[in-house]
């Protein structure tokens, strides 16, 4: 069994440093929680790289102790002795840490990581210490600041130090710390400064400087917050756009509202899940690429279902928009229940591929997740594609002709029946693409479509019929308005306010934002 041997050797190698440092692990295992806290604090003030494996094991919950209080590290179900421990006596028990100890452990680990070779590790450690450093670590931070050569790490360390110095007994030190905090754009700096102002700070110069610093920090933070809201608004808008685009096409063309449109989103998301499953099974090596493969599959699946619905149900109801609404609602009930029966009522797990996880940190309080960035880009891509399809192809010409005057188009030899079917397929297919996008940022369950359908209707109402520009503007407008109102008055009241605003808006422009003008026909 070469692998087993290899593993044992490896773990031995890992444990070597521990043996040289006799006692830390044993001390810790034997100590009471209060003593453990003291130990952690003292280790934090004087980090030793040799202690890292012990801390890691502690953090992962792999440090165990037997009844004789001998320390072991659990590895693949075996107990590897640490330091001078002999065979475990009885079944060793895991060391349980309370929340306070967990916090201390994080600080201690960060302290140790400050000594790491890798500057990103050091940066993360410094950030951690900004939140949790203890006064006992002052000397350490000072020393590390002096020795640090990476700019970003230095800044972060300086802030961590400033945080500590705020409680220094010397007003001059406090003043310097306050000024330093004023340079920061971190949300934490604001908290600290606010705490200082709320405390019994006696020195007036420090108070004044703290005021100035606070307003500086707040200005920087406000920018990040506003940009963050605008971004999540855009992100919501792009999702609404993907949901409403197909709806707008079919509504413009056929004058019918497809209540099952939301279910096309849902089916698109489930298709993504199935494609993910297929990749896991047959091509695990290419798993990261599954969303790309899911796009055409979802488009084809939903477009096929949409065309089938058009052929079997909707085409028999043309000229009866209210009946179509009811019939498509019936279809949506059946689709939801079918998915429930087939795949269960629970949400299914769709994981982000690695290239979509994580995010772009623009400001200390502004992270743009890659998945959302990708969806905004994707939505734009779909809009451009749809525009090209509608304005640069024969099918698009036919669709526009039928939208504007069905009878005339039929007289000119446009096969209206076929155009209806293809347009319905296109609308449903776009919803399927939207479903792939949705699966990357939210839960995938049978009710997925229901939560988007009303908002997408509002987009269509607001944007007017037959105009891509109207749909795009309405979707992003609604998205941003939603997200800007949310922090002020809450999500629910925001939604209600938006509904009221739309009703008032239609008073002025009954045909939506971008209506085709002309002699009123009815």
């Amino acid at each position: 069994m070469p692998t087993l041997l290899y593993r044992m050797l490896l773990s031995l190698a890992l444990l070597l440093p521990l043996t040289s440092h006799a006692g830390d692990a044993a001390d810790f295992v034997a100590a009471s929680p209060a003593r453990q806290a003291q130990l952690l604090e003292s280790w934090a003030a004087a980090p030793d790289p040799a202690r890292l494996p012990l801390l890691d094991a502690l953090q992962n919950g792999r440090l165990v102790g037997d009844i004789a209080k001998q320390p072991f590290i659990e590895q693949d179900g075996r107990y590897v002795a640490v330091e001078d421990a002999a065979q475990p006596q009885g079944i060793p028990k895991k060391l349980r840490l309370n929340n306070r100890l967990r916090g201390l452990l994080a600080t201690t680990q960060a302290s140790h990581q400050l000594l790491d070779q890798d500057s990103t590790v050091r940066l993360a450690a410094a950030r951690q210490l900004q939140k949790s450093a203890k006064p006992a670590q002052l000397a350490l931070l000072d020393a590390r600041l002096a020795a640090e050569d990476d700019k970003a790490v230095r800044d972060a360390l300086a802030l961590a130090l400033a945080n500590l110095q705020l409680v220094d007994s010397d007003p001059a030190v406090r003043l310097a710390a306050v000024r330093l905090l004023g340079e920061s754009g971190e949300p934490l700096a604001r908290t600290r400064l606010e705490a200082l102002l709320a405390s019994a700070e006696s020195d007036s110069r420090v108070r004044k400087a703290a005021q100035t610093s606070l307003s500086q920090v707040e200005r920087r933070l406000l920018l990040g917050e506003l940009l963050g809201q605008a971004f999540s608004g855009l992100s919501l808008g792009s999702i609404l756009l993907l949901a409403a685009l197909g709806l707008a096409i079919t509504f413009g063309l056929l004058g019918v509202i497809n209540m099952a449109h939301g279910e096309m989103l849902m089916l698109g998301a489930y298709t993504t899940w199935l494609v993910q499953g297929a990749f896991q099974k047959f091509a695990p090596g290419y798993l990261d690429l599954y969303p790309l493969a899911a796009l055409p599959v979802a488009f084809l699946v939903t477009a096929a279902i949409g065309m089938a619905l058009e052929r079997t149900v909707i085409r028999h109801l043309y000229g009866r928009p209210l009946e179509t609404l009811l019939a498509t609602w019936g279809i949506s009930l059946i689709l939801i229940q079918a998915v429930r029966v087939l795949f269960g009522a629970q949400n299914v797990e769709v994981a982000n591929p690695s290239w979509l996880s994580g995010g772009l940190q623009l400001l200390p309080n502004l992270v743009l997740p890659y998945s959302r960035l990708a969806i905004i880009g994707f939505a734009l891509f779909v809009v451009v594609l749809t525009w090209l399809l509608l304005n640069r192809t024969r099918l698009g010409l036919n669709v526009r002709a039928v939208t504007q005057n069905r009878n005339m188009a039929a007289c000119c030899g446009v096969p209206t029946g076929r155009v209806d079917m293809l347009a319905f397929g296109l609308g449903s297919g776009i919803a399927g693409l939207g479903g792939v996008a949705l699966s990357q940022i939210g839960n995938v369950g049978p009710d997925l479509g229901q939560s988007y359908i009303i908002d997408s209707f509002l987009v269509v109402v607001l944007g007017g019929v037959g105009q891509l520009a109207g749909t795009v503007m309405a979707a992003s407008g609604l998205g941003i308005a939603n997200k800007l109102l949310e922090p002020q008055i809450g999500a629910v009241l925001g939604k209600i306010l938006i509904l009221a605003l739309i009703i008032l808006f239609i008073q002025k422009r009954p045909q939506g934002l971008f209506a085709l003008k002309g002699r009123v026909i009815d």
Binding site: K508, P510, Q511, A515, K517, G518, R519, V520
Partner: protein, 271 residues
């Protein structure tokens, strides 16, 4: 969006006060259109249109397709608001400031190009609804037909020769019968001015002849404005003809006069 599609929204709900008021026609003109301009997205439907219709006159409007005939009717009935220009009903009623309902109640009746009647209601009920009376919600809730009103409906039924179909649903009538029913509904409204958009389209020759007689008998008591393509019909009824072309008046006069007009010939026959 221009005013054309946003109209009415700001008008008050209450329109009852106009009912029953006479129209001031001191100067003998029932309808005055001056300098009317309407454009849709840059397309000029009406340009600087001037038109006057006298009390008791029967005026025919002719013109090629797209000349602006229907748009002009839309302006008169308040369906479309002009970009500029004045539209007066009599001397005192500014049509550009009234809603469709107010205009109808003031005494302008309109027959659409495509006959529109209330298909689910019987012929009798169609006429009943059109009858000139208080048309508010409360009045409708309490309404009972008086003997005189019944007689009036029977009279109109006889005029439009639909006595035999009084209880038939209007949706089952033939195209020509629907045309007559709609004319009958106009008569029930007792309007001062009737706008008729292609009233004899789809009628047999006999029906057309009868309609011509009917219209001639209506003139003097009412003012009529008839849009029609059928020159035989126009010849039979009109004493005065207006030719519209590209949104403004090309020629006016008797049918013979306008038929002799070179510009009219050019427009109709091409160079």
């Amino acid at each position: 969006m221009n005013a054309a599609t946003t109209h009415q929204a700001d008008l008050p709900l209450d329109t009852g006060h106009l009912v029953g008021k006479g129209v001031n026609v001191r100067h003998g003109t029932i309808l005055t259109l001056e300098g009317i301009n309407v454009s849709f997205d840059g397309f000029k439907a009406l340009t600087d249109l001037n038109l006057y219709i006298g009390v008791g006159e029967l005026r025919c409007i002719i013109g090629p397709n797209g000349a602006g005939k229907t748009t002009m009717m839309d302006v008169i009935t308040g369906k479309t608001r002009p970009d500029s220009g004045e539209a007066w009903f009599g001397e005192q009623l500014d049509l550009t400031r009234m809603s469709e309902v107010q205009i109808a109640q003031a005494g302008i009746g309109r027959k659409f190009q495509k006959p529109t009647v209330f298909e689910a209601l019987s012929v009798f009920e169609n006429l009943e609804l059109a009858q000139k009376t208080d048309k508010s919600v409360l009045a409708s809730l309490r309404a009972r037909l008086s003997g005189a009103q019944r007689d009036r409906i029977d009279e109109v039924l006889a005029t439009i020769r639909l006595e035999g179909s009084r209880q038939r649903p209007a949706g089952l009538l033939s195209h020509g019968q629907k045309q007559f029913l709609e004319i009958g509904m106009l008569l029930m409204q007792e309007p001062h001015l009737l706008l008729l958009d292609e009233p004899v389209a789809g009628m047999t020759d006999a029906e057309t002849e009868f309609t011509a007689e009917l219209f001639k008998s209506l003139a003097r008591k009412h003012s009529l404005m008839v849009v029609e393509h059928d020159m035989g019909f126009v010849d039979a009824i009109a004493d005065h003809v207006t030719v519209l072309h590209q949104g403004h008046v090309l020629a006016e006069g008797s049918l013979e006069q306008v038929q002799a007009n070179e510009r009219v010939i050019e427009v109709y026959l091409g160079r």
